[in-house]
Symmetry: C2
Subunit: 236 residues, 2 copies
Amino acid sequence: METPLTASSSNAAASRPRSNRERIIQSTIELMNLQGGNVGTSLIAEHGSISPGNLYYHFRNREEILREIFRRLETDLGRVLHIEDGESVDARRLAGFYTAGAHVLWQYRFLFASATEIIFRDPWLADEYEAFSRRSIDQISRILTDATRMHPGPLPASAADCVELAENKWVLWTGWPRHAEMRLRGRAVTEADFARGLEQIFGLLTPYLEAGYRRETARAIHHVVQTLDIDFPATA
Amino acid sequence: METPLTASSSNAAASRPRSNRERIIQSTIELMNLQGGNVGTSLIAEHGSISPGNLYYHFRNREEILREIFRRLETDLGRVLHIEDGESVDARRLAGFYTAGAHVLWQYRFLFASATEIIFRDPWLADEYEAFSRRSIDQISRILTDATRMHPGPLPASAADCVELAENKWVLWTGWPRHAEMRLRGRAVTEADFARGLEQIFGLLTPYLEAGYRRETARAIHHVVQTLDIDFPATA
């Protein structure tokens, strides 16, 4: 999965006719990304131009909508962070993990920003989130192990270092959208604002990667961040 | 300010007779740390065994309580992260920034975990938060500049590196309580669970600090984390 970090998929989704079920899901994601996790079903229905009756035909309650959204996050990110056994992570691929991963996290950012309000309310979600978080850290750790082994830098990275780096990256990645939001109050945060954090998060690997490989990866990440900046200044 | 990361201050507060105003503030902090930022004034009053009338005698509304709590966070953390001009940061002092800083962030963790629900609702808070976040990153950057200059490691840390590291540390520090909470679902997260993250966050500096100095600092942090683990297994 080398989907770049672009907003094109959401633009496409906006112009494509969607089923009511899909409209409910998109309406929930949009509203919660803007207003946090306390949005109720009546506001969701209104925002998606769906009658409350229709909403309840598709979903028993708000919890069921959130579970469906969470399943999509799991699937999307799991796919992005997947590497095959024996696969070698070149610079373009490493950059792709950062940018495509960030794009997924950006789309579902309310789940991280309002975790206390959403995840903990529902024991099923809390269990799933814990497993998802653990699995994602494992996947990131595998990627880092591969990259640092094939392209070692001035300092060696042990297996334990890679697990620690992976967990730090996970907390940074999931925490950055809210951080960007707070820094940029006064105007709506854009995916580009979040994406700029990627370059900084990537910086954690500087000591552990060969200089040429690192520069090539940084350039590929920077290219995507720049593109976002130019094309999507008003994405909210 | 070399206050260690211990729960003694909150224990002391619990046994000391408190003014009603203070009880309202403590009740808000406790409830929001447990349930997130959507707790209303009637629940706050009930939890603090205060009548709603008494609450409204001390505070016009929920917003005023939250502003007061935020001012305390600003003061407490600003004091912990302060260094004098020309002050040299030895290992014990560096460890103190981590542990005392984490203790402050832990006490007010709901403000970070429910930021979308609390900070953005109130333009005053959003402005203050932005300035506070910027100031804290500056303070952390000054500490890192001092430590890496006086005790340089295998890789040099430029001024720009220190600013980047400081911002990464800030996002990690403020995001870790929620991360610990999610990882440990099934039982209430303790300050010790959060504190364990400190050792990992400190790990970011490994490439930039002299090995002996780094080990001494890590040992001091570890000592505090261990102490917490033994003494306060059930702090919620």
